[in-house]
């Protein structure tokens, strides 16, 4: 991927993204008068393929892919639960692989194919995984749900491709779709309502249909 900006610029902005914030939270002693005004943060054009449609945005380099989706494109199906890669609510598929969209900057995704929950299915045309979640009541408050569904779709595709997980016994043969495999692979998606048992039933059903 051809990046429109240098590695050095990236390091500077991403350090600002986390380091400074933590410092101001914890330091109660007078901080040195280093807070001199800095130039307006750089904006960059980025073209994303979002759910099959090309979209060009002019974004602050600090904007996460998650915030680009939610705040700039208004695709709010992708959720912000922690903004730190700890909960999985922001899971989307980038070039077919699931990632936490809060942990990646939007401008890093020039030309990438991004599928969000809105791209999987709509209320009138549900994806099989969305149907299964409804049928098995694989959610309650619904806030982790788009992430769970994107993650489940991604996990089944990984299983199909033979990508092993921590619990895979045989690293060379085909991987059976077991409950242990699904639980392991979906453990990055927290559901505080605790719908886990139902989610696994829903994903197992779809895996069976696919198989």
């Amino acid at each position: 991927m051809q990046s429109p900006w240098s590695r050095r610029e990236f390091m500077a902005t991403s350090a600002g993204l986390t380091g400074g914030l933590v410092a101001s939270q914890l330091v109660s002693a007078p901080s040195p008068a280093e807070a001199v005004a800095q130039p307006t943060p750089a904006h960059y054009p980025v073209t994303l393929n979002l759910n099959g449609q090309t979209q060009t945005l002019e974004l602050d380099a600090r904007t996460s892919l998650l915030d680009a989706l939610r705040e700039h494109v208004h695709l709010t199906g992708t959720k912000k639960g922690c903004d730190h890669g700890q909960c999985g609510a922001c899971t989307v598929l980038v070039n077919g692989r699931r990632i936490n969209s809060c942990l990646t900057l939007a401008v890093m995704h020039q030309g990438d194919q991004i599928t969000t929950i809105e791209g999987l299915g709509t209320p009138d045309n549900l994806h099989p995984m969305q149907k299964a979640f409804i049928r098995h009541d694989g959610f309650q408050c619904g806030y982790c749900t788009p992430g769970q569904i994107c993650s489940a779709v991604g996990a089944l595709s990984e299983l199909e491709k033979g990508i092993p997980s921590h619990v895979t016994a045989d690293l060379t043969g085909p991987i059976p779709v077991s409950q242990a495999e699904l639980r392991e692979r979906l453990s990055g998606n927290i559901c505080r309502c605790g719908a886990y048992s139902n989610i696994i039933e829903a994903v197992t059903e779809v895996a069976g249909e696919n198989g």
Partner: protein, 736 residues
């Protein structure tokens, strides 16, 4: 309508729609990401600016310097709200401390500023450029150290006096040949709902509009009114989708107030979401407890004396954790003493979290029961069956339970689980490096009912619209309210639209305390009775002889469609349910029994739960699918409480150190096995016209104790300090 006498046969008993496992009617919106949660409502406030909150870096003390100049100069920053420009803010009665600090600071991460900017990134950057200096004062952060200064808290209408005494506990205990005297501790816990607290606020003249994530709409209006000193009539709150609450969103928090202040300052709508790491220290949590349980029994297992002494702490002496609640009701025994003590701490506000009181109370009392069974060499299921009681043990037979199927839950659970195959001696079953154990515990959660109103409209096509300020926090309110209205008017479920959580709708009970489903459906029931009357009146028929079925109404051989009778303008009816003294006459509670199989790794001390079974009796089940989800979800949270959840207090600085989901561990997929939930048939005609009881909080009660008891059965190690992380087991496990 007033609910003053047990419910008789009524239209709900037809069970054409109610009682069936319908999919959630809001399900399609939730699984496609089209349900808009508070922060996502771009359409209501398209030009909203972004607010980023900064919390206090100290727990107790004073802001000595507050320099916002660099922040104000930062790119995109529109303004900074601090105590200096916020105007006069009051502390509402619902809050232990003010929602904006300054100059004094009452707890760590109490809001000190909101930076408002054109974009989220700019607001966050602006918050980094705030220059704040503090003077820190010593605080009280250690519950164990403050326990000696704890005092009896006030009585409260829902849970009664702090102390109750029946018979003579001291003599009864002293004379009991078999005794248990154990002390248990439970840590501070965080709700950690998936959607962080979030609000968008806008001013239209002197009218304040708040789109937020809140369980109790009328309370949100009241508390905003108190905090900002504006008339409640000028405040409008909307919260149709809520990404989990568990008690953490019962009361407005800093996001709502700061968004309102920010919007006033920059003269445009402002949106504020708390960052995940701000939730434990800025908002509320479930307070830690120290609980001493004493049980005295005769040699044949009859309990003679029960004492449950509990201590919790809170900011500014706010409210206590009622951890002794279930001990007042669960088992028989002539001599009883239940006490609650409250210490003042300078930690963030402690408040309700799913099943406040009972959730942590069971973690002590149901382990003590197991300890008693061990001493008696008696099966713990048998011990519980032996001490069952069908009336309030404190008040006597004149106050029976409205319904109580604890025995049936225990017996049915034991049968399904294969309890008889459990090895009664601890540490006897081993599979490889795993020590296998089984545990049981009872579950009791009070089932309160609260006044609740609703409006039901019907149009000329016979379509119903239900409007109430009730909320759906994942509980399934949308669906069960639609089912109730469909049943009452005899229309199919898809002919009902449910609109919730707007402050201009009739005031409901809201979501909390597992009163929501039963009470709000009863409110809709009352409104539907009114609408049936209005339809019958308009048709000129006697409502007593009119039946409502298949979109039609019939009486004396005539049949007309509802839409036709409703006419082109439609009809509307509103009413509320009031519950009279039914809670005084009968103890109303839901019951259950948990059965757990787990393995403890004999080398690492890790506990893995292998089987979970919960058997519950909680009145009529309005929707078996959503009710089951409530129960199994609460069981998952109960597992978390037993094995991993605990906020770590830094007693030097007065904060919770593990303030995010990387450090505060909640159960994930890999922790939760297939969960079996069985719900027994039960109708409770004394509880409500629906004959239902509370479901949402029952499942968390007792599950953790069943895990504690299973760990003992697996290893012979009795753990009393939650959570049971491997380090707590490791030193006590038998040598490998």
């Amino acid at each position: 309508m007033k609910f003053t006498a047990p419910a008789e046969h009524n239209p709900i008993d037809q069970l054409k729609v109610v009682g069936h496992p319908h999919d959630r009617i809001d399900g399609r919106a939730k699984v496609t990401g089209t349900a808009a949660y508070a922060y996502e409502r771009h359409q209501v406030a398209p030009q909203a600016a972004y607010g980023y909150m900064l919390g206090s870096a100290i727990a107790v003390g004073k802001i000595t310097r507050l320099d916002t100049s660099q922040a104000e100069k930062a790119p995109g920053v529109l303004g900074v709200v601090t105590y200096k420009n916020a105007g006069r803010l009051k502390k509402s009665k619902s809050h232990a401390s003010r929602l904006l600090a300054g100059p004094n600071v009452e707890h760590f991460d109490q809001a000190v500023a909101l930076v408002v900017a054109e974009t989220f990134e700019q607001a966050r950057e602006g918050a980094k450029r705030l220059h704040i200096e503090y003077t820190s004062w010593p605080g009280r952060f250690d519950l164990a150290a403050e326990k000696v200064r704890a005092v009896p808290p006030k009585s409260n209408p829902m849970s009664g006096p702090p102390d109750t005494r029946v018979g003579d506990f001291e003599s009864g205990f002293a004379q009991s040949p078999v005794q248990v005297d154990s002390t248990y501790t439970t840590p501070d816990q965080s709700h950690m709902m998936m959607e962080p607290h979030a609000s968008i606020a806008a001013w239209h003249g002197d009218q304040l509009l708040v789109w937020t994530s809140n369980q109790m709409i009328a309370w949100a209006v009241r508390d905003l009114s108190e905090t900002l000193s504006i008339s409640p009539q000028k405040i409008h709150v909307s919260s149709p989708f809520i990404g989990g609450g568990f008690g953490g969103k019962l009361w407005i928090r800093a996001d709502a107030v700061l968004a309102a202040l920010g919007a006033r300052l920059v003269k445009r709508p402002v949106k504020v979401a708390l960052a995940r790491h701000q939730i434990p220290n800025n908002t509320t949590h479930r307070p830690a407890t120290i609980q001493r349980v004493r049980l005295g029994a005769s040699k044949d297992g009859h309990i003679q004396a029960i004492a449950h002494d509990t201590t919790s702490g809170n900011l500014n002496g706010f409210r206590e954790e009622r951890a002794g609640s279930q001990s007042r009701l669960l088992y028989a025994g002539p001599n009883r003493l239940i006490t609650h003590r409250l210490a003042t701490l300078d930690l963030p506000e402690g408040n309700a979290m799913r099943a406040p009181g009972e959730a942590v109370g069971h973690l002590a009392s149901e382990v003590a029961l197991d300890e008693l069974a061990v001493q008696l060499k008696m099966d713990p299921v048998e011990l519980r069956l032996l001490n069952d009681i069908q009336f309030d043990p404190e008040k006597g037979p004149q106050r029976p339970f409205s319904s109580r199927k604890l025995k049936e839950c225990l017996s049915e659970g034991a049968r399904r689980f294969g309890w008889e195959r459990r090895h009664p001696q601890p540490g006897q079953v081993r599979e490889g490096n795993w020590l296998i154990g089984h545990g049981v515990a009872s579950a009791l959660r009070n089932s309160p009912t609260l006044e609740s109103a609703a409006r039901v409209r019907i149009n000329s096509s016979g379509q119903l619209t239900v409007e109430t300020d009730m909320t759906d926090i994942g509980t399934g309110s949308y669906t069960i309210l639609a089912q109730t209205a469909a049943e009452m008017l005899g229309v199919p479920l898809h002919h009902v639209t449910v609109k919730l959580a707007e402050s201009h709708f009739p005031v409901s009970c809201g979501s909390g305390g597992q009163f929501g489903g039963n009470s709000s459906c009863s409110g809709v029931y009352a409104a539907c009775l009114r609408l049936r009357n209005a339809l019958a009146h308009k048709a000129g028929w006697d409502v007593e002889t009119t039946t409502f079925s298949d979109g039609h109404m019939s009486s004396a051989g005539q049949t007309r469609s509802l839409g036709e009778v409703a006419g082109p303008k439609g009809l509307s009816a509103q009413d509320k349910i009031e519950f009279g003294d039914s809670q005084k006459k009968w103890v109303q509670a839901s019951f259950g029994a948990h059965f757990v199989e787990l393995g403890v790794h004999r080398i690492s001390g890790e506990t893995r739960v292998r089987r979970l079974l919960g058997v519950f009796a909680c009145g009529r089940i309005l929707n078996p699918k959503t009710a089951r989800s409530q129960l199994l979800g609460a069981m998952a949270m109960g597992l978390g409480a037993a094995l991993m959840e605990g906020l770590a207090v830094d007693t030097r600085y007065g904060n919770f150190v593990n303030h995010d989901l990387a450090e505060y561990h909640v159960p994930v997929h890999a922790d939760i096995p297939h969960t079996e939930v069985v719900i027994l048939e039960e109708l409770d005609d004394k509880s409500s016209p629906l004959k239902a009881k509370g479901v949402g909080e029952l499942g968390i009660c007792g599950l953790g104790a069943a895990i504690a008891n299973a760990i003992y059965n697996a290893t012979g190690v009795r753990l009393r300090d939650y959570p049971f992380t491997p380090d707590r087991l490791l030193s006590q496990l038998p040598p490998v």
